[in-house]
């Protein structure tokens, strides 16, 4: 019932349909391995050192029971019979020494693996972060910001957990199992044989556990993800929930999701409930067998009491690592899944590639002339622009007008090279944008969008984003130029005031003014405004309008707007329809004859009364 409820109300989305086939799976694994090995390569020496330390640790920790055996077989008899203190004294000294070595190698090992883990983590974080920044807008449009964040947080942390805790457990457990097995065989092969009778049973149990825990782990992750999404969304939208009396339905959905998660957790706990005690019981049964066979062998003089005692002590150490290995496996699974996703991101190529150093043009200064030569563009199979020829001389203010979906925004995005044309070319001062390095192009062409994104930093920092290194005076001048100075001063703290979480302490109009100040400070030769005034109320729009006059002076400007107020300050209007330029001319001229622009203008004017 819960499954049905969990699926029906959620509806259908594209990623649900993805099915991973076998060859894809193999490809994924190869990709993950490549990433892992490139991450570990710089740390080979440190890892070798860590291996040496863990071997030292292992030897030292194995010495304990041996020393006890020595004490029982040699030390105590020597003391009892000959009053010779030395053998016992030496074993005790050996124990102290072993303890010291064990402690110091343990410290060394934990430290070195911790260091390596942290270094790899830093390396991975920077690689992934830089790569996300390097990828084109087209990528970010299908890869939501939430997914970017979880790649860089929970996925990276899963790998860090594996490196910090998992490797330690794995190295220690594997080594312990091997050495203990060696010691058992060496001290008495027959008794060791008794122990190894249990091995196939433990192996079968471990195999079953591994396979089941993969499923259980996935189920827990999936169910908790649904709980979290529902929780965050429904409480984030609490106004709508309460206004529409949605609480009972939400509670019903939440209870079902919560119960599914509870079931998944219960299942994974119960897997351990079978596995852990199972291994324990087998170990205990083995111990009973060892005791029986061992006693007989002592009686027959084949082994000493000391050997039997040591054997029992070692046996305990043989079993604990098997349980630890299962814990490692959980960490490993989480990390493997994370690695798969991260390597996928790192292998993405930007759709808008940087020019090769040989072909790059370092346009040091630009006039701001823009040319579209026979430009055609489409998103996947869906054509948006057809054979656009458009020439904008330096210093002109051009308004792009047309209905939603006509291709205005796409034109703007081609100008700032968020995309590359499918055919034809876009040129700045005669140079194809594809041969201008990214950072050079951004110095000359800046695009301001409707969302006017602000960072959760101070007002000054947000303006200075336009030109890092600008002085306070320059920041102030930019704010004054766009008319933002006054309201900034009225904020407690002025320019140092925080804008709140992504600008939440400012109104939409204030945010837009800050983003204008930012663009003003950047002082590009070409400025593109995409719907920059769409969501403002009239008084705010009026302020922004005035700021625009200052902002657009002395540079090439391309403005996209629905509200035609913004368009009235343009030298030239270009009407776009179905991916083609259908009208082009100064606004008064277009208004003077029957034109699409005149229709649009009329509709807009009617809406104002």
């Amino acid at each position: 019932m819960s499954v049905d409820l969990a699926t029906r109300w959620r509806g259908v989305a594209a990623e649900d349909a993805e099915v991973i086939t076998a060859p894809v799976n193999a490809m994924l694994r190869g990709r993950s391995r490549r990433l892992l090995s490139s991450l570990m390569r710089p740390h080979v020496r440190a890892l070798l050192g860590a291996t040496a330390l863990i071997v030292g640790f292992d030897i030292a920790s194995m010495a304990g029971p041996l020393m006890v055996q020595q004490a029982i077989d040699r030390g105590i008899p020597a003391l009892t019979r000959h009053h010779d203190y030395w053998p016992l004294g030496l074993t005790v000294l050996g124990l102290v020494l072993a303890g010291a070595v064990q402690a110091s190698t343990d410290y060394g090992f934990t430290y070195v693996t911790g260091r390596v883990g942290q270094d790899v983590l830093l390396d991975l974080r920077q690689r992934v972060f830089d790569h996300f920044q390097y990828l084109s807008i087209a990528f970010h449009e299908r890869y939501t910001s939430g997914r970017v964040t979880s790649r860089l947080t929970s996925d990276v942390e899963a790998i860090s957990d594996l490196l910090m805790d998992g490797l330690q457990v794995l190295a220690w457990a594997a080594l312990t199992i091997l050495t203990v097995a060696g010691i058992l065989v060496w001290s008495d092969p027959v008794l060791a044989g008794v122990v190894f009778v249990a091995a196939p049973f433990v192996a079968v149990l471990a195999r079953w556990f591994r396979r089941e825990s993969v499923k259980a782990y996935r189920a827990t992750r999936e169910t908790i993800a649904l709980v979290i999404v529902h929780f965050v969304e429904s409480l984030g939208g609490i106004r709508a929930v309460q206004a529409f009396r949605r609480e009972p339905r939400n509670q019903e959905i939440f209870a079902a999701l919560n119960d599914a998660y509870r079931g998944a957790t219960q299942r994974s706990i119960r897997l351990v409930a079978v596995f852990g005690p199972g291994v324990k019981a087998m170990g205990n049964a083995t111990l009973a067998g060892v005791l029986l066979v061992g006693a007989i062998r002592v009686e027959h003089g084949r082994i000493t009491v000391g050997v039997l005692a040591a054997f029992i002590l070692y046996l305990r150490r043989f079993l604990d690592p098997i349980l630890d290995l299962s814990q490692f496996y959980t960490l490993f699974q989480a990390a493997a899944a994370a690695l798969e996703k991260l390597s996928g991101v790192l292998e993405e190529e930007p759709t808008v590639p940087e020019p090769t150093p040989g072909s790059a043009t370092l346009l040091t200064s630009a006039q701001g002339r823009l040319d579209f030569d026979d430009v055609t563009f489409g998103y996947r199979d869906h054509p948006v622009l057809h054979h656009i020829d458009l020439h904008i001389p330096a210093g002109q203010t051009v308004a792009l007008v047309g209905e939603t979906g006509a291709g205005k925004t796409t034109l703007a995005r081609l100008m700032s090279r968020f995309y590359d044309p499918t055919s034809g070319s876009v040129r700045l001062d005669g140079t194809d944008l594809r041969s201008i390095p990214r950072d050079v192009l951004r110095r000359h062409v800046v695009m301001v969008t409707q969302e006017s994104f602000l960072f959760s930093r101070s007002v000054a920092d947000n303006i200075r984003f336009g030109r890092p290194g600008a002085t306070d005076e320059e920041v102030r001048r930019a704010a004054t130029a766009v008319g933002a100075h006054q309201f900034i001063l009225s904020m407690p703290g002025g320019y140092a005031a925080s804008v709140g979480k992504r600008g939440s302490r400012l109104s939409a109009g204030q945010r837009q003014l800050i983003s204008f100040a930012r663009a003003f400070l950047a002082d590009p030769e070409v400025l593109i405004l995409d719907e920059a005034t769409a969501s403002l109320d009239i008084p705010s729009e009026r302020l922004v309008q005035r700021a625009l006059l200052t902002l657009l002076r002395d540079r090439t400007a391309v403005i996209i707007a629905h509200r035609l107020t913004t368009v009235e300050i343009a030298d030239r209007v270009i009407v776009v329809s179905d991916g083609r330029v259908v009208e082009d001319g100064p606004p008064p001229e277009l208004l003077s004859r029957p034109s699409r622009y005149r229709q649009l203008h009329q509709a807009w004017a009617d809406s104002l009364v």
Binding site: V68, L95, Q118, V148, L287, L543, S607
Partner: protein, 586 residues
């Protein structure tokens, strides 16, 4: 251990008390079994081996029985734990969610969603671990310690005292480690949070970063934070390394002392050889309980903090709830009256609204116009009691809305917000939010009226998932769906907060034509920023400084109220200090 908060979890554990007792009993049983095995070993060595007496097979059988018995008891405990611990966790989570849904909007505005989420996930996991593991082992390990030490003292008093002495430094180190590690990992967590903020903003602001070509600057900012985090993490690593080294050292030294003293005792015939072996085995059994005592104390402490954080939510009184004797208004005519309504966010705080008087007749549509931060949105949210008036009253058909049940009030009043909330669910689910029984025909009609027929052409039609986790829609599309949702329930009173701000001019005209027909029969309050939206209304109320300063038709107000002109007319020059910029949003 600070137990203050921890016992508040008792009501949730009570339904599982039988299970808890069984778990405790099986833990204790397993303990007895596991600590008896060394005694059997002793008997084997001292009996059949040293003195060549018989009885080896029964003793071995006993060891086998004890060993398998331990396994079974462990299994029983963990199996039950699966049910009980997850049950406690799930019950608290359900109640927490229910509680959060009853808390008013003001509460949710105060609390960040991340904080609530961490209570519902991380904190509850801590409680589960405490109930299922910490609580049981706190008892079991204390029992183990006392029991084994008693056995050791019984075997040999002097060596037993050595053992007790060895436990002291371990516990002290454990306590110190817990304290230092707690503050170190707290710092790591805080810095992780800062790093996450940088990551989130770099992802959300990717267009701005790209538009200005600021990858290098953001990359450097990220790198420096990541490096700070790395060095804090290394502090924690070093603490851990030191702690584990100490944990390894002390038992070894104690073992050396036991072997030395034990050897002596055996040679003096104070102790048998088998006794020494049993002693050493038992001693090794103590290492884990003593070590883990520190960990368990830490779990208890963390759980106690988690419980405090969760109960902080439980203890918050729901400010907006049904009064005793609230009436369920079955039929509603739709007469809405504001009588001297005042509102401020905190007691004695700035008054957002003061002395608002307004009457809306059944079927009438009134537009609310005002500058940014003039209190328009606040006024609207009072109608469906998302917040309560602090002065005066709001009445529907003469009933104070606080005397109506919330369910009936919200059945008659539907809202569409400027920032439309769509949930990660199917379009249908999002639409039938307030009207779960709506038929397909009703849904179609609502979609038609809101010009949201595009919903039928989504990849899976009305079953397409939208919201964060689904298909992303444009702002205008989201607003039109939210509008369809509001009109779907056929409410008597419709409250619309600038419902078409993100819709383009052409679509806006069509929606307004459809809305105009709908609003003929419905009482409506509409916040408007543009003349086109005002045109929907029979009457306009102009809100300024938290008061309604003028009502009348759009043209009347345009010609008589200068403030109104400043807010709504396209062609005027703005006055010197427009009110829009005086107050920053709260």
């Amino acid at each position: 251990m600070r137990g203050g908060g921890i016992w508040r979890v008792r009501p949730y554990v009570r339904p599982y008390r039988t299970q808890m007792l069984v778990m405790l009993a099986s833990a204790a049983g397993a303990l007895v079994a596991v600590s008896t095995v060394p005694l059997v070993t002793e008997a084997v060595i001292n009996g059949p081996i040293v003195h060549h007496r018989g009885g080896l097979v029964p003793l071995a059988a006993l060891a086998l029985a004890l060993g398998v018995g331990e396994g079974i008891l462990l299994f029983v405990r963990r199996w039950i734990l699966g049910r009980a611990a997850t049950g406690v966790e799930a019950d608290i989570r359900n109640d927490l969610y229910a509680k959060l849904q009853t808390l008013p909007v003001s509460f949710h505005e105060r609390w960040q969603s991340g904080q609530l989420l961490s209570r519902a996930t991380t904190d509850l996991t801590l409680i589960r671990i405490f109930v299922g593991y910490g609580l049981i082992y706190l008892v079991v390990n204390t029992m183990t310690f006392v029991y084994v030490v008693a056995l050791l003292l019984h075997l040999d008093v002097r060596l037993g005292l050595v053992t007790v002495a060895a436990a002291v430094p371990i516990m002290i180190t454990g306590a110190r480690f817990r304290r230092d590690y707690h503050s170190a990992s707290r710092r790591v967590q805080d810095q992780q949070g800062d790093l996450t903020t940088i990551i989130e903003e770099a992802a959300l602001g990717i267009r701005v970063i790209k538009a200005f070509g600021r990858h290098a600057v953001e990359g450097a900012r990220f790198a420096s934070m990541a490096r700070t985090l790395q060095s804090s993490s290394m502090v924690a690593v070093r603490l851990r390394a030191r702690f584990f080294a100490t944990l390894g050292l002390v038992p070894n030294l104690a073992l050396a002392a036991i072997v030395l003293g034990g050897g002596w005792a055996v040679s003096d015939h104070v102790m048998t050889l088998g006794g020494l072996v049993a002693f050493v085995t038992l001693f090794l059994m103590l290492v884990w309980p003593v070590e883990s005592l520190g960990e368990i104390m830490a779990i208890a402490q963390e759980a106690s903090a988690a419980i405090e954080r969760i109960w902080e939510v439980f203890d918050t009184p729901p400010d907006i709830a049904d009064r005793p004797g609230a009436v369920d208004l079955d039929r509603c005519e739709g007469r809405l009256r504001f009588e001297n309504v005042g509102f401020s966010y905190s007691e004695g705080g700035r008054r957002v609204l003061a002395g608002v008087d307004l009457e809306v007749a059944p079927g009438e549509t009134v537009a609310i116009v005002g500058a940014t931060a003039s209190g328009k949105t606040t006024l609207l949210s009072l109608v469906s009691r998302l917040a309560d008036v602090t002065d005066g009253r709001i009445a529907i058909d003469g009933h104070d809305i606080r005397d109506m049940t919330l369910a009936s009030l919200r059945r008659h009043v539907a809202v569409a917000f400027e920032d439309p909330t769509l949930f990660s669910a199917s379009v249908r689910e999002n639409l039938t939010f307030g009207a779960p029984d709506a038929t397909d025909a009703e849904i179609d009609a609502a979609l038609d009226a809101a010009q949201a027929r595009f919903a039928h052409h989504l990849p899976w039609g009305l079953d397409t998932r939208v919201g964060e986790q689904g298909l992303s829609l444009s702002g205008g599309q989201r607003q039109r769906l939210a509008l369809a949702r509001a009109i779907l329930g056929r409410p008597r009173i419709l409250v619309l907060d600038d419902p078409l701000s993100a819709v383009d001019v052409h679509t806006e005209a069509k929606v307004e034509a459809a809305l105009a027909r709908l609003l003929e029969r419905t009482t409506a309050l509409v916040v408007a920023h543009r003349p086109s939206t005002v045109a929907l209304a029979d009457r306009v109320a102009f809100l300024d400084g938290g008061r309604i300063v003028a009502t009348g038709s759009h043209h009347e107000l345009l010609s008589t109220v200068p403030g109104y002109r400043a807010v709504l007319a396209q062609d005027v020059e703005a006055p010197a200090g427009p009110p829009a910029w005086e107050a920053t949003a709260v």
